[in-house]
Assembly symmetry: C2
Homo-oligomer: 195 residues x 2
């Protein structure tokens, strides 16, 4: 692909990501994307077969970015500190976007679960990989005795992800970090994180 072609492709994906996170993939039209990018219809269809392909490409790109975010956020001198750093980073991430848009994967989960199997299958993989990373960190933290050990790591990790998704939903609704902050604070207490 030419350098100009590459730039157009990237611009379409960037602007589409912005639209999807605010409006949802379903409610975003190809015309919205054309308007946001200043691209012609011919140019867009030269790069993509349509909105569904753009949607999947955006999800793949955002998944990669999210996995990188998780790996960085979960870092710390000890596994317990890693978990605490992740909690802090999660609030910070949404504060930076002013609680607009929320979580693209959570939004797509609710939007696509019953109507777009391709998107749903992809989002399942995001949650699965997310839960796996948190499970591994919780497991290490438990082995070091830095948190409660009476509940399996995987179960705690599932609750952590559910609570964060629900907290983001409410923070976005109220345009305030308070619900997310509160839910995470309570999580930290009930996990008995000692780090």
């Amino acid at each position: 692909m030419t350098k100009k072609g590459e730039q157009t492709r990237t611009k379409i994906l960037d602007e589409s990501a912005r639209l999807f996170v605010r409006k949802g993939i379903g409610a975003t039209t190809v015309n919205d994307i054309l308007k946001a990018t200043g691209t012609t219809k011919g140019n867009l269809y030269f790069h993509f077969t349509g909105k569904d392909e753009i949607g999947l490409e955006v999800l793949k790109r955002e998944k990669q970015a999210f996995m990188n975010f998780l790996d960085t956020a979960l870092g710390g001198e000890t596994p317990g500190q890693g978990l605490n750093n992740f909690f802090k980073a999660a609030v910070e991430k949404h504060r930076r976007q002013d609680f607009v848009g929320g979580c693209l994967f959570g939004n797509t989960a609710l939007e696509a679960s019953d109507t777009s199997p391709d998107f749903a299958t992809f989002v399942v993989s995001v949650f699965e990989d997310w839960i796996t990373k948190i499970t591994r960190k919780i497991d290490q933290t438990q082995q070091l005795g830095q948190m409660r050990r009476d509940i399996p790591a995987r179960n705690l990790a599932e609750m952590v992800v559910a609570t964060i998704e629900g907290g983001i939903m409410q923070a976005r609704l109220l345009k305030s970090e308070q619900p997310l902050q509160h839910s995470i604070g309570t999580l930290q207490k009930v996990l008995e994180l000692k780090a």
Copy 2:
């Protein structure tokens, strides 16, 4: 209104509710509603000014139904049993709908937070009233020593609602009760519910 008019109005609200919970309010068109109800355009616009009015009416009706559900589900011989009954009823409610549709309020929260202030404001009131009811029950349970007392009732209630919303999201995505069941099971353990 004539009896026939009343029936038409109810039918429009019933079918719209079904469409909204599956597709979201944003992606449902007036034409979808006409098709689902077999109503004429003239008839629909005789009863409603448009989709937004139908959306708000559906949300109001569903809120009333949800508050009735909560009051029934939270019943029990003791407050602690009430909480456990509510957890059971929450899984049962979504099992009955085969994990299709999920939670209309959660869906609308994600859909409307950034784009439809009227819907968003209404959904805030649903979550607020839900959290208030759970807070009251947790407070009673704490006072009777039937659960942990070291975290304020309101904070625990916020985490309960966030976890359930996140759990419904994942159950709906996987079309399996497991994520919701797991998250609720872990919640019950960390709340140290003794009832």
